[in-house]
Symmetry: D2
Subunit: 233 residues, 4 copies
């Protein structure tokens, strides 16, 4: 299994990876000029020790590569983490690369995330940020319909503008872009991936990005069970 | 002058800066343990030499700090540069920090970029990307009206959803977000700023981000005339 | 006071800085489009909150610039931190620049760190790394003498080789380089500086780099008392 | 062939790699949601175009991992590139990780680079930096002998100090460290590797690091012939 569907039209695909739990051990032990060929108990203890003490550089020699297809609002939260932006711990040099599709010139038809009737959430109780319980079905259903219509109207106007000769980079002003799907390649070290997971699996992360984080976890854990297990403790 | 207005509602404000042309010279000469107090001809020649030979690390010891208010589509292009993303030269560690407002919890009313009748551009002649000449006034006027109405409708729906108890992080799906203004702090080294300018002052950069690049240039050049002059050659 | 002497011939000099405790508050509040002009109690609480919750990106908008003169073995430990190397938490993108003198072509006479008789330390009791108590004076005195002689012999051979026409980049093989002083410019964000301090003020850091960390702390704390206080808690 | 010997005792070993020329193409085309399975002529043209126009981000999704054993003076030049230091173009975020052995606690016996009689070079003709032609055999032979003796003396004193109970982190002050071999893991993107090669294959780079750069090239080129060929043009 190397692809997991997320939300109504999105997915995470594991494109490639490099290394194993052993890579962490061998990178840490370069000091001692010894290389393990098979993971033994001493190696596992070393991984536990490195993770516990915050000696995370050996985890940067293990690499994962994903293709992600997600609404723009999810992509932005993800990048913010990469840029080390607002209210996030900065871990910037984290061996990351990012290549993304752009609505400035793409010809692919735009696709949008439309929450279903039972997916709309209410305000959180005691916080300015995040969300609370699911709202009543009837209310959710109303907003699903309204959003679908509003998005269709925007797409019609976007296409009419293109038809009339307006450039794509301005015509896109008609698109309700937060929910628009974008696609990107993300290449990151295991340290970076686990830092992302530690932030985005949290209950106060936006629900939609939590879903993507769960997919990333499901694809990563079987490859590096010890390292992921210890870094997410 | 420390603030320049851009587009219909945006601006760039110089919040702070550190160093001068001399900082570049002194950082380069740490090798020789000599510090200049005033910029002389030899110093200027050194700046020319460093820029010409691509020895740009001394330019990283000069820092600028801006507050920017721009449509999301401009912010995204800007970040892509910072992340070193699609089709950009990666200069990632470039001493940059970024703090941005978020529609997940902000209470400020949303504001949007609406091109005026004479600002709508046509398709480029020989390219899949960018834009060409301005379109006919009547066509532009039509799309200005339509965009205004479409945005107003989206904001009404966004506010109705909030009123009905839907969480802000989902209600925003109704906002035509590409044109929505966001505000951020950008702290970057002179090397990073000039790399950004070299990319974004180019004729094939999106027109809207070119406007922001011009404002950044206008605020930066008087502070470091030699260094900026040489790095933008 | 902007310069502090360290070890027998070294120093740390504060060259420049940008921002104040208020910068952290304003960068964090860009979300709310409010700017403080004076630090009040709510601001201090915000700094405490940001540091406690690990929301460190606002601390990256405050910049410090130092000139450091230190033995190569100290410089290497320092760089390792910057590169995010062995057994350190990676925080790489941390707004840092580094410009250093080089023995490949410098003409300045080499200077060396020679511990005095009472500065030699013994092996640690229960660790493979670090050091323990000071050794007996007579033993220390013996090694101070021996090191001085050995260094002088190396410098004589280095200079003879240069005299005989050997290139500097090979002649330097005769220098006992771990103790040789090098000089560099370090420009870093407050987040990066405090991360460095959290690592290098620790009792298990090498004694010599602890001395430099203390000088950095002494020069930084008065400028940003709240931010430094909270980040070093 | 995955290991190449360099200098008298050093080596470069290819530990692992991820991706191929196709990865570059697929990362660039994520924009168009098309994935190539085999490299065709259009793909090669795209690689040529990306390299020529400086659109280097797709090259960051290809990763290489090396173990390097080299004199400290080579390691320092290498790191300076990684930190983006003195007189180098900063490309910092370049997906790099570094884990290195340390003389603070290692128990492995120290090994040193000793140039043979015909390897000593003279001063450069018209430059403050670098080296010129090989010196006369007799002179070279003299310095090979002297360096061997000086190094042996330093190692004897280092071991005597350890024997007398002095801590390793101070005893190492007796080692002529520029020529001492250190071992490290380097994980870097193809963009970073080629940037390193473009700098270090140059005739004015130190001869010893050129040798390492040649080994890196020899191990990398067969894996990504198109990408390496275009990036080194």
């Amino acid at each position: 299994m190397s692809m997991i569907t997320v939300l109504d039209k999105g997915y995470v695909r594991l494109v490639n990876h490099m290394g194993s739990d052993l890579t962490v051990v061998n990178a840490a032990r370069v000091s001692y000029a010894k290389e393990s060929k098979e993971l033994n108990e001493r190696d596992m203890k070393l991984i536990t020790f490195l993770a516990r003490e915050g000696h995370t550089s050996p985890f940067r020699h293990v690499i994962l590569q994903f293709e992600v297809y997600a609404p723009l609002m999810v992509a932005r939260q993800w990048w913010k983490y990469v840029v080390g932006s607002a209210h996030q711990e900065g871990t910037g040099d984290t061996l990351e690369a990012w290549n993304e599709s752009s609505r400035r010139y793409i010809t692919e038809d735009p696709a949008f995330y439309i929450p279903s009737a039972q997916e709309w959430r209410g305000k959180p109780e005691n916080s300015k940020q995040g969300s609370g319980d699911v709202v009543a079905w009837a209310l959710g259903d109303k907003y699903t319909q309204e959003l679908m219509e509003y998005v269709e109207e925007g797409v019609r106007k976007y296409e009419a503008a293109l038809q009339d000769g307006v450039c794509a980079e301005q015509a896109r002003l008609f698109l309700p872009a937060y929910g628009m799907y974008v696609r990107w390649y993300w290449t990151a070290s295991l340290q970076a991936v686990c830092h992302f997971l530690n932030q985005r699996l949290e209950h106060d992360a936006q629900k939609e990005i939590q879903e993507y984080a769960k997919a990333i976890l499901q694809l990563s854990q079987p490859l590096f069970p010890n390292a992921v297990g210890e870094l997410l403790k």
